[in-house]
Each structure stands twice: as C-alpha cells, then as structure tokens.
C-alpha cells in the first residue's frame, strides 16, 4: 500500500477505462431515452403477465 502512485499509473487506472467507457456509449441522448422508455414499457408488459390475486393490496405504508 505504500508503493508510490505515479501519474502514469493513475492515468492508466482511471483515464483509459473512462475513455473506453465513453467511447462505448455510441448512442446519443435521444436514442438512450427511446431505449429506456421501451425497456420500461416492456417491463410493464411483463409485470402485467404476472397474476396477482384480486385481494392483494399494494405494500403501502411499507413495514417489513
């Protein structure tokens, strides 16, 4: 833990992966929003498929 952290090591550890991450995000904000809305819509469809007894109330005033 006492080993000296050089600027090069720090750059390698942080900047390169961050740049990689940025480069991997190829979609623009509009496309990301569209994809996020579509994902939420699909999740809603899947939730609807799951049968819940009519008497089941939502877990309001949540107490474990």
């Amino acid at each position: 833990m006492d080993e000296k952290l050089t600027r090069r090591k720090l750059a390698k550890a942080i900047l390169v992966p961050a740049a990689v991450a940025a480069a991997q995000t190829t979609e623009g904000p509009g496309e990301l929003l569209k994809a996020a809305k579509e994902a939420k819509r699909r999740n809603g469809v899947d939730l609807a498929k799951f049968q819940v007894p009519m008497a089941t109330e939502p877990a309001f005033v949540f107490k474990p």
Partner: protein, 478 residues
C-alpha cells in the same frame, strides 16, 4: 503516516476500543493518523469525496477530554469513520455523487451523523458514491462525480456501487468503518467486491433523515466494517426510532449475539444451484468451501428455494417510479443531463412516464414477496447465497451486459435473493469467503426482519473459523 504501522490501519473497532481504553493511544492521535491516510490514499481509489480533518480533530479533542474524565459513551468513542456522501453533514457539501449537486450544502446533520457524534465516533471524511446512488440505471463504473470507484485489490477493477468509496476506504485501511446505504445491492456489492463485511439492516431500523432519497420504501442505511462484530457495534449506535423519518420502525437495536438462538438450533436454507450453477466457475471453489465452513459452525443446512416471481422487475419498477418522482425537479430543469452516465439520465426521464398501473402492480407483487418470505422463514432461520456470483468487474466493462454464467441455469435457485430481500425489507450480512481471480468473493446471509443479532451470531461464528475478513490488499495491487 504518523504513528501507526501499516498493519495497525487494519485493526477492528473492537481492537481500537481496547487500545483507547488502555490509554495506549489518544483519540487525537488516532484521528490524525487516519485523516492523513485518508487524504493521502483516498484519491488513489477515487474514494474520497471530502476530507473533514479539522472537524475530526476538534471532535477527537472532545473525546480525549471525556476519556480523561472516564466518561465512556459507546463502543465507538474515539473511533474514526467515513460517511457515504449521500448523508448530510451541516455546513459541508453533500454532493450525492452528482455534478448537479456539487455545491449543495445542508444546514443540519443527518440523524446517523448526530448519533455517531453523540457516541463519540470521529468523522474523518465523506466518501464517494455512484451518482444519485445509481437510481436511473447506470452502465459504467465511471457514473460518479468522483470517477469510477477503484478496487484496492486491483485498480483495474471496480469497487462496486453505489457505496463505492465506503467499500474501498474500509478495504484499504483508510477508515476503521464506514457508513453506506442500500436500495438494491449498494452495501452488499461493494462489501463483496472489496472483501469487507457489510450489514444491510432491516428497513426502518436506521433513520434516513438527512439522507438522499432514491426510494422511500426501499432505502436503508448501514455499516461497512472489517468484521461482523464491528457491524453489530456500529448498528447499535446508528439504529433507533426517529420521528423525522416517516419509515422509522421506532425500534432500537442492542448488539447481543450471545442471546441469539444456539447455532445448533438454526436452520440455514440454501440452493445448491446458486453455488455450482449461477456462480462463476472461478468462484465456485470458494463458495463451496464457504458452505462447508458454515456447516462447521453447527448450523443445519437445508435446501430452500424462492417461488417464481418477477422480483427484479418489481424492484426496478418501484425504484424507477419513486426515484423519478423524487428527482422530477432535476429532470424538468434539464440539469439531469449533467450526470456522468447518460444512460442514468435517460432512465430517470423515462421513469416519469411509468404508469400508476405498473407501480401498483409492482407494489402488489411486493406484498406477495413479503408473504412468501414469511412462509420461507417459518421453515428456516437464515438464507445463504453468494453475495455476488463472481468477483469485481473490470472498470471499463458495461455493467448491464455481463451474464454471470453462460448458459444461465434453468433452476432459478435463490439467484433473486438480493431483489427479494430488498423488496421485503429484510436484513442481510455480507461475509468475505475467499478469492477468485485473486479478487475477493463473499456470501450473504439473509434473515427475518429485525433478526440482525442472529445474522451477526452466525457471521461471527463463521469469522472465528475463517480469516478472509482479515486479509488485506497486496501492496503490488495498490
């Protein structure tokens, strides 16, 4: 570093307590040493949000005054700690890890901070986190105002989120313990990835007053430490009723694992497929050894399974609906686009469109999950499964594109225990259990609501027989 050896920085709360009581070291000396270390090494892991050295030294001086007069307030008196930057400290910036809130300052301390202050614990700094605790759904570890949380075991790996700084700071010996928070995985993931012990308390046990809200019905605050015993000592101080938190259970916690049921009387449920099917191949030997060690504590291991339920979908819908409602002003102002992870901004915006029908369906499913967990806990006392199925991911990896194994097992086992436990508000204890690819892996114990003493008793027995929680990152990795 003034005064302490490298090994001493990895002492437990109980060990520091004994040395303070024996007057071997003063609170000021301890605070000085840990403040210096946090300031020097915190940036190496992107773990430090804000050093609070001056405040810490002032508090430590007061503690020394108390100790001089033999006034012992708690087991944490004089012990330095770090705080996730999701909790407010009066007069200092509380960024929530997000650029739009970089200059935010609150007038009041969070209840947890007040409790720790009153107990004589010494806050040395605020620790980094994933922006807005990741509520919008983030794709990369870099989703933070402070950069990606770097793992002390390997700087090329993620420390986990969203309590990233709390995980790395404890693992690297920058603080004896830290406070984190979990909505869905944010204490257990960094604890597992960094090789430390983390406790997610029962919902409502620890006040959320002064904490950023992501999900009113799922947020929990909890300790991240070096051992199960330390988690118990910290929880005793931070738990308790609070009229400023509408979700508060009004219950106090007394750390008394010795009064929990005898280990030989405990039934611990597990699903074999979690350990040899869902777990990544490299991690399976460690997980299987963990089961053997757990059995050696005297508990009875029995087969268990979770009913088929869309746990993840329900948890995701609840967090999306509540999180987007909470951050509506940020979204409407357009400042949400300043977040580092654009996927997270998109997720928060999309959450505003979530229908009442979907939210209510998710909350009704949650009722069923609570009922199912009660039924399971009529048969067993504790559930055990891998905390994460493998070691920490690489810093540049997409977090939403990593299948644990390929192909996925047909039997779900208890692979959804994380989502189920959080939906039902149940406590969980993360215990390091070995290594895979030279990185820590961990198991989680989940119990009935308010059964923390049972979890801690099992965790302490496990840690008496293992030394994974005592391992420290190799110098070459740091």
């Amino acid at each position: 570093m003034p005064g302490l050896t490298e090994a001493e920085y990895f002492s437990t709360v109980a060990q520091w307590r004994a040395r303070l009581k024996a007057r071997e070291i003063s609170a000021v000396e301890l605070a000085k040493a840990f403040c210096a270390r946090l300031e020097a090494l915190g940036p190496r892991y992107n773990a430090l949000a804000l050093p609070l050295t001056k405040r810490a030294l002032g508090r430590a001086k007061d503690v020394d005054g108390d100790i001089k007069r033999d006034r012992w307030r708690s087991a944490l008196q004089g012990i330095p700690f770090g705080l996730k930057d999701l909790l407010s400290v009066a007069g200092f910036p509380t960024t929530w890890g997000a650029k739009p809130y970089a200059a935010q300052v609150f007038k009041n301390d969070a209840t947890v901070v007040s409790k720790l202050d009153s107990a004589g614990a010494v806050l040395t700094g605020k620790l980094s986190m994933v922006e807005l605790a990741g509520g919008g759904g983030y794709r990369y570890p870099a989703a933070s105002l402070f950069g990606p949380g770097l793992n002390p075991w390997d700087l090329g790996r993620w420390s986990g989120g969203s309590s990233s700084g709390s995980g790395s700071a404890v693992a690297a010996g920058l603080v004896p313990f830290a406070i984190g928070s979990e909505t869905w995985g944010s204490i257990l993931t960094p604890a597992a990835y960094c090789g430390i012990t983390g406790l997610r308390p029962t919902y409502g046990y620890v006040s959320r007053n002064g904490a950023m809200a992501l999900s009113w019905t799922m947020d929990k605050i909890g300790p991240m430490c070096r051992s199960a015993e330390d988690c118990g000592l910290v929880l005793q101080v931070i738990a308790g009723g609070d009229s400023d938190d509408p979700g508060s259970s009004g219950k106090s916690f007394y750390f008394a694992p010795q009064y929990a049921r005898k280990l030989a009387d405990l039934r611990v449920g597990y699903a074999e497929v979690d350990f040899n099917g869902w777990a990544e191949p490299a991690a399976r030997p460690a997980f299987e050894k963990a089961l053997t060690m757990l059995r050696e504590t005297g508990v009875k291991l029995v087969k268990a399974e979770l009913p088929e339920t869309p746990y993840g979908l329900a948890a995701g819908a609840i967090i999306a609906a509540e999180g987007s409602a909470i951050f509506e002003p940020l979204i409407e102002s357009g400042k949400v686009d300043e977040l580092a992870d654009k996927n997270q901004a998109a997720g928060l915006k999309a959450g505003l469109d979530l229908s009442a029908k979907d939210y209510l369906k998710a909350m009704r499913i949650r009722t069923l999950v609570q009922q199912a967990m009660r039924k399971i806990f009529a048969e067993v006392d504790v559930l055990v499964s891998p905390a994460r199925f493998g070691p920490a991911s690489k810093i540049g990896d997409r977090l939403d594109a990593r299948p644990p194994v390929n192909p996925l097992p047909k039997d779900r086992g208890m692979s959804d225990l994380g989502a189920a436990g959080n939906l039902a508000g149940l406590p969980a204890l993360c215990l390091p259990c070995g290594f895979a690819e030279e990185l820590p892996v961990a198991i989680q114990l989940v119990g009935r609501a308010f059964s923390e003493n049972t979890l801690l008793a099992v965790g302490m027995a496990f840690q008496e027989r293992t030394d994974w929680h005592k391992r420290t990152p190799p110098k070459s990795a740091a």
